[in-house]
Every structure is written in C-alpha cells, then in structure tokens.
C-alpha cells in the first residue's frame, strides 16, 4: 500500500479524552501521522512524543547571518566603497552600525524562522493543505493514522483501537 495516501481518521470531542487516546494509540505501537485541533492543547506535544524543536538553532544561525551581513555591508559601503565623513567619526566605526546590525539580525532570523517552519511543516506554496475532517477547524479534534505505517495492524483493528481510545467517530479518508 502506498504511504501517505490512505488514512484512518478518529474524531474526538474532548481534549482530555484525546490526550489519553493519543497515549493509548501510541503505546500499542501505532504511529500517528498528525493530530489536528481547533485550539492549542496543553501537553499534546509531549503526548505525541515530539522531539525538541531545532527551530531555535536555525533562528540563531539566521540571526548570525544577519549580523555578519549587516556589518560587512556597512563596513564595505561606508569604509571602502563610498567613504563619507559623518560627525568627524572614522569611516568604519562600530557604534553607528549597531542599530542597522540589530535590525538585520532580527529581520533575517524572523524571516528565516518562518521559511524554515513552512518548509519543515510541509506548507509549501504549491501544496494545497489536506483536510482530514473540516470539523478540526470548528469543534473537533482529528487524529489521522497512515495505513501504510500502522504497526502491522489491519484497517479494522485500527478502527477498533480508535473507538476504544475514545473517538466518537471513526472514518476513512484517501487522497489521490
């Protein structure tokens, strides 16, 4: 069976039941593709066993890129390319460069973080988001399990597992 095509979808109407359900499903060896929720649920990342995000490291790298770019740009422009006397200061002097350096550091780290996050979360511009169940934008929590990565369980076993874990409704969903 193709991966990332056919799913079993569990619908939950309570976040505490959902958290328990996630733990139960995961402890039986089934891999959860994703859980969609209309509001942030405290502790859901731990329940899903998410590893610590490496986004801050990316942010730091982008920030350092901004810092270096800003300093190089200003030192090159005002120190070498087009030296100007401003307030009798040296052509390349650090203090007046700090505000621009700060701004570029913030700008690049912010834009870089947004870009990294979108790529990592699979939110590319040409990719239409998949909708497992429209109610995940309203009043239901939606848990999607990829049939190709189901821990050796059949479709019916998965459905039973979801119902036993507290899902009020269990559906199937396929994408082309």
């Amino acid at each position: 069976m193709d991966a990332d095509k056919h799913f079993v979808v569990g619908i939950f109407n309570d976040e505490d039941v959902l958290l328990e359900g996630i733990r139960k499903v995961r402890s039986s060896g089934v891999k959860i593709q994703e859980v969609y929720s209309p509001f942030p649920v405290h502790g859901i990342d731990e329940a899903l066993g998410y590893k610590k995000s490496r986004l801050p490291i990316a942010a730091f790298m982008f920030g350092m890129t901004g810092t270096s770019l800003a300093l190089l740009m200003q030192i090159w422009m005002l120190g070498y390319d087009w030296p100007m006397i401003i307030g009798g200061k040296n052509f390349a002097s650090l203090p007046p460069f700090i505000p621009v350096t700060f701004e570029l550091t913030v700008l690049l780290s912010a834009l870089g973080m947004v870009g990294t996050f979108m790529i990592v979360s699979d939110m590319k511009p040409y990719k239409w988001p998949r909708q497992f169940d429209i109610r995940s934008t309203d009043d239901m929590h939606v848990m999607a399990i990829d049939l190709a990565a189901n821990g050796g369980k059949s479709k019916d076993e998965l459905k039973r597992l979801l119902s036993e874990s507290g899902a009020v409704e269990v559906n199937e969903k396929s994408f082309e």
């Binding site: 610590k52 801050p56 203090p95």
Partner: protein, 452 residues
C-alpha cells in the same frame, strides 16, 4: 501534572548558613582593613604627571576649567586625603547598589500584584524579604551623605553659588533650586534631603502595607488581602516610576554635576532591576538546592531565567541608547563623561568588561531553553550579572569623584563583601520569620500548574 498537596514550608536560618555569612563578613572586614591600609600608603601620587598623559586633549581642556576653579577653594577649605575620598566613594557606591536590591525586592512583588501574575505566587516571599534592607539602606544613605557630601558631591560647595567667590559656576548655579529650594543656594540642600527622606519613607510605608496584607492572608484565607495589595501595588508603581528616576539623578547623576543624560533614570533602574532579578533567582536556586520551595519547579525557574535574560538585553539597550546619542552628537560637555570612563585606568577596562559581563555572557549563556531551566546554568549566570552590575555602579560613581586617582582593589572588594554579608543576613533572617510562601495566596493553585 496531577494534584500535589501543598505542604507549608518554613525557612530555617541554620547556624551553618549564619557561619558562612559571618565568614564572608570576616573576609570582607579583613580585605577592607588591608585595602584601607594600602590605600593610605598609596595616596601620595595624587597629582602624578603620568596620569594626565593618558587623557585626550579634549578632556584635559574641559577639566582644566573645573580644576582651575576648584584648586584654590580646596586649599581654602581643607583637602581630603585621596584614601579617605576613595573610602567614601566605595561606601556610597556599594550603598546605592544595595539600595537597588532592597527597593527592587518590593518593586518585584508590586509588579506581580499589579499584573495579577499567578506563576510567581510561590516565590514572592524572597523579594519581599529583600525589601527588609530598606530601613538599613535609609540609615546608610542619609548617614553616608552627611559624612561625605563635600567629597562626593561637587555641588555641595557653597562657593559655587557665590558670584564674588571667584569660583562661581554658572551652570551649577542654574541647577541650584533642584538641590536647595526653598532655602538659599549653597546652604542646606532642603529639597534634596527632603526627597531622600520622602522616597525612603514612602517606599518603606508601601513595603509595610504590602507585607502586612501578605501576612494577614496567611492567617485568614480571604481574597480581600490580594485585592488590597493589588491596589496598593498599583499606587506604589506610580510613585516608584517617578521616585526611582529622581533618586538616580540625586544619588548618582548629581556627582557629575555639569553633565546630564535624559536616559539616566532608566539606566540606573535597568541596572538595579536586572541585578535584583539575578539575586532573587540565585536565592531561589539555593533554596531549591537546600530542599525548600517544593512549589517552585523548572517552569518557574524558566520564567526567572527569562527575566534575567530579557532584562540583561534591556539594560544593554538603555546603555547603548545613552552611549550612541552622546557619541554621535559629539558635544564636549556630554562626551566628557564617556571619555573619562573609556580612557583612564582603571575605568577603561571596567567600561568594556561591563559590556561583556552584562550583555555578551548572559545573552549567550541564557539563550537556550535548557539553560534557563537548570539550576547549574543559573548558578553561573546570576553571579556574573550580580558582579557585572557592581562594576556598572562602580563606573557610574567613581570616575566623577576620584578623577585620575580611582582605584579598584582590596578596599572596594572588601566593602562589597561586607555589604553583601549584611544584605544576605537581613534577607535570610527576615525570610526565616515568615512562611516561605503564602499558602492562602489565591493564585497559588495556578502557580502549581504553571507550564511553559
């Protein structure tokens, strides 16, 4: 998460802890005496030629004016020995630094009430205990002021306001009402002393009110005490906004009487605030280590760490805002302040060390989430910040008084140890006289579930 039962805790000021503080005091007194003795032997090169060569032409030009006007007057009155001036300076500087720790203790508590913060309800007693330093600070501030006013505060000399004296200073005379109103310029600084008394008086009054409600809440589980404290805190914050700025002008900026900076109130506040945050965090960390404060976990430490991290950057922002404008405008009356500090020993290395200790190190060391949540990293960064801002205050006060004769040696370190020992003694002693957290605090339950 789950439900944890709250067990009331009492901090016990153990004989071992007392002994450690007394050892710190002993070391301080020893260093102080040796340092003082060295300073008296050292004081003969007061007007050594070598020093002035380091100075840029610009500064020499600008101090020549003041030197010319000061020299005959000092001979006329009496010349204080360099070592004595140095002693007064370090006492004043340490005192102002620790005034900050005391008042910010109260400020922290007030901020938590006014913001209706829940996360901090388990650790509010630590800053509250720090506030007990206020009466001591008042005694020291007013006592030291009367002991050393002519040596530290140039503006206290009456000849500056006397047109016939030959040392009349038009700029300082223009500022005289700020010190002497409603009295006569050059006389007793009524307005100045009145402000000192009112600030400490009001701060202590607010402190007593807030503490009384917190203690009453322990005996009777009623939210009315929390609501009372919230409005007292709001009024205190309004008063503190004005008084902290004015206190910074009075006690620190008026040393360099000619110079002024509109950022200065904020600058002193930022330095006080981040130092006290580091001190609160450090005390919490050591209490955790000693097995106290079960209600405080990694999430609360994370918030304290964020406070230290964020306000280290805030301080740098204020520092830089003050520096950049003066640097760029390049007006001699303003730049003299920084030239004094950047080109003269020992202020020069302190000036740059200040930025490394108070910005670079906290910024890099506390950047990650884990660093803020673990006791071990907080134990490294908080002392760096506390020492760093001591240097900051050193460089705010000393160059203006001591000019070329400033020293940083055993005398200064010893004085800091004595102050620290006294401060810790008062703080821990008052902490041991009340429950370590308010068991009836209406937001304690929220604090137990704090999760970030």
């Amino acid at each position: 998460m789950g439900h944890s039962t709250i067990v009331e805790e009492e901090f016990i000021f153990t004989p071992e802890a007392k002994k450690k503080i007394l050892i710190l005091l002993g070391v301080g007194v020893f260093l102080f005496i040796v340092g003082l003795w060295l300073a008296t032997k050292d004081g003969h090169h007061e007007h050594a030629e070598g020093h002035s060569q380091v100075l840029s032409q610009q500064w020499v030009a600008s101090i020549d004016e003041t030197a010319a006007s000061e020299a005959p007057a000092e001979a006329e009155h009496h010349e204080t020995a360099t070592w004595l001036k140095r002693l007064y300076t370090t006492l004043w500087m340490n005192n102002i630094y620790f005034v900050g720790l005391g008042i910010i203790g109260l400020f922290f508590v007030a901020i938590q009430y006014a913001a209706q913060a829940g996360w901090s309800s388990g650790l509010k007693r630590i800053p509250l205990a720090m506030g007990h330093w206020l009466p001591v600070a008042f005694g020291l501030t007013i006592g030291l002021w009367f002991l050393s006013n002519h040596d530290i505060f140039h503006w206290t000399h009456s000849y500056l306001y006397d047109k016939s004296s030959g040392q009349f200073d038009e700029i300082i005379d223009g500022k005289s009402p700020y010190f002497f109103w409603p009295g006569e310029a050059g006389g007793f600084p009524i307005f100045y002393i009145a402000r000192m008394v009112i600030f400490f008086g009001m701060w202590y009054w607010f402190f007593t009110m807030i503490k009384r409600n917190m203690m009453a809440e322990d005996l009777e589980a009623d939210t009315k005490y929390w609501f009372k404290n919230r409005s007292i805190s709001a009024w205190f914050l309004v008063f503190f906004a004005v008084s902290s700025s004015v206190a910074a002008w009075d006690w620190v900026m008026s040393i360099d009487t000619h110079w002024f900076s509109t950022m200065f109130g904020w600058y002193v506040f930022a330095s006080w605030w981040v130092t006290a945050l580091a001190m609160i965090t450090l005390i919490v960390v050591y209490l955790k280590d000693a097995g106290y404060l079960k209600v405080v976990n990694a999430n609360h430490l994370h918030d304290l760490g964020k406070f230290v991290f964020a306000f280290s950057i805030f301080w740098t922002y204020i520092w830089f805002s003050q520096f950049l404008l003066i640097y760029y405008a390049n007006i001699p009356e303003e730049t003299v302040y920084f030239i004094e500090r950047m080109t003269t020993s020992p202020y020069s290395w302190i000036f740059f060390t200040n930025l490394i200790l108070n910005f670079v190190l906290p910024f890099l060391l506390l950047m990650t989430r884990d660093a803020k949540r673990h006791l071990s990293m907080l134990k490294v960064v908080c002392p760096i910040v506390i020492v760093g801002h001591w240097f900051d205050f050193y460089n705010m006060v000393t160059p203006g008084v001591m000019k070329n004769d400033g020293g940083l040696g055993l005398l200064e370190i010893g004085t800091a140890c004595i102050f620290l020992a006294a401060f810790l003694w008062i703080t821990l002693n008052s902490l041991s006289k009340m429950p370590l957290f308010g068991k009836n605090h209406p937001l304690l339950e929220e604090s137990l579930h704090h999760h970030i």
